[in-house]
Symmetry: C2
Subunit: 287 residues, 2 copies
């Protein structure tokens, strides 16, 4: 028997769509409803069977839902949350899947406090994805074995938190619980900065040289194919931590360049060895 | 009928071994001989059938060879070349597979000039590889569809050049001919700098954050698993071009960081869009 009656996904792109496919595959809910802004994406999501039903009305979508998943671009999440909170039924749990947490969690918890609501909110960040953004790239196994961070603050309802941790685990994710601040610090280093660096490498490469590029270039710059608007949004919502992570990166990079230019061979090898060791400690089991 | 009588590979690691396997698969030579410094790697290369025969003597290895391939780490190539030139038979063509060309080509052409030799040299750089360096990772198809740059200078013998271009094409590589300077400029942007950036990212990431890292981190830092000594060698032999490519990268990176920190959203999107467009122009058909 499905654990949930109705789960609603607002914004059915790569992540929202993959969550929909996974819920359906695992029979976690009797009904998965998608809420759309455009009729064309509604039709597409139904064609890919990412949701059971689609609507363009938040009111219809949210009615009777146990879990409401905000899966729009980061900058829209608080706006959508405001609409959803007003319409969500008693006991509903709202979660988001945004790539930054402090800014989003602060905003939404502020709204709930003012409303003295019986609606709950738990911030989430399933750390899966690719350089593609739309529903045709959605896969039911996208979240399998991926890390998923769930945030906990002084205002978090513990029962709701536990339900949401269970929800992500049921989809196959490896769940970690932390504060929004700790999350933002973590992703600045392991996700946001690598994206900035990949964009910088691709942006600075003279196009006439591309024809001789091979595997190394291909991998280091793959995520520079990501959606510029989505990522500008994410970067803008995590400025301070990105600036901090950026300073650590620049320092290391400058040490390497200096060791090369000054011909300090042993120092150079040490820097590369430390980097290689760090990378070898990373044991990712993705799909 | 094989085109060549004997081809000798000095240094049978990932690249040397893959070339050996490919020559054998394509029946390009009657005999492929490997020259080794250690008995243990000789045994390993024979076990993986990367060469038909192994020896620890350059003299034996080089005797009667039509093509002699220098596939040692970059810093050893000129030293090995000096030994090989002295022992190579009349008409033999020496090629190297080093990742930088100006430094190597200058050194070896200098040796040949002094010797007024009937031995020829053509610089090469098959742009294939992985983060692994040893013969057990060698594959006969490693060079297939990969770019391979062959260098041409005022001193290059045209017949030898044409034979070597044919040799790499027979192994499946997409051959480009250019000057050593143009080569070094090109690889500084598309290979050396991406390696430095990947090492810097991996080196600067706090290890406690690694457990939440996913696909983006995995790909941008894969080549930070490369051999530190091999790459310190390569970087040291291409200082000036690396410094230049580095400045272009830093400029782009700083523009992105500044746009984020100052909240210049439109400028940020433009920088990311240009980067994405550059990356989308890269059409690599590897294996």
């Amino acid at each position: 028997m499905p654990k949930f009656n109705k789960i609603t996904i607002i914004g059915v792109g790569l992540i929202g769509g993959s969550i929909g496919l996974a819920i359906k595959k695992k029979h976690l809910a009797k009904e998965v409803v998608g809420v759309f802004r455009r009729a064309s994406t509604l039709k597409k999501a139904l064609r890919y069977k990412a949701v059971d039903k689609g609507t363009m009305s938040i009111e219809d979508g949210v009615r009777g839902a146990d879990i409401i998943i905000l899966a729009t671009p980061v900058s829209l999440i608080p706006v959508v949350a405001r609409n959803v909170i007003r319409r969500a039924g008693k006991g509903a749990i709202i979660i988001d899947v945004g790539s930054t947490k402090q800014w989003i969690v602060d905003k939404i918890e502020g709204m709930l406090k003012r409303r003295r609501s019986s609606v709950f909110f738990v911030g989430s960040h399933p750390m899966a994805g690719s350089e593609h953004a739309s529903v045709e790239f959605a896969r039911s196994d996208l979240l399998k074995s991926s890390p998923c961070i769930v945030t906990k603050t002084a205002k978090t309802n513990m029962e709701a938190l536990s339900k949401i941790v269970g929800f992500w685990k049921a989809l196959g994710a490896k769940v970690g619980v932390m504060t929004p601040t700790a999350h933002d610090r973590s992703v600045s280093a392991i996700s946001h900065l690598p994206h900035i660096v990949a964009f910088s490498l691709a942006g600075a490469t003279p196009v006439q040289e591309l024809k001789y590029a091979a595997e190394g270039f291909k991998d280091t710059t793959r995520i520079a194919l990501s959606d510029p608007n989505l990522w500008a949004d994410i970067f803008a919502s995590n400025k301070r931590e990105i600036a901090k992570a950026g300073r650590a990166f620049e320092k290391y990079y400058k040490k390497i360049i200096k060791a090369i230019v000054k011909g300090r061979y042993l120092e150079l090898v040490k820097l590369l060895e430390k980097a290689r060791k760090n990378r070898s400690l990373f044991k990712y089991v993705g799909v």
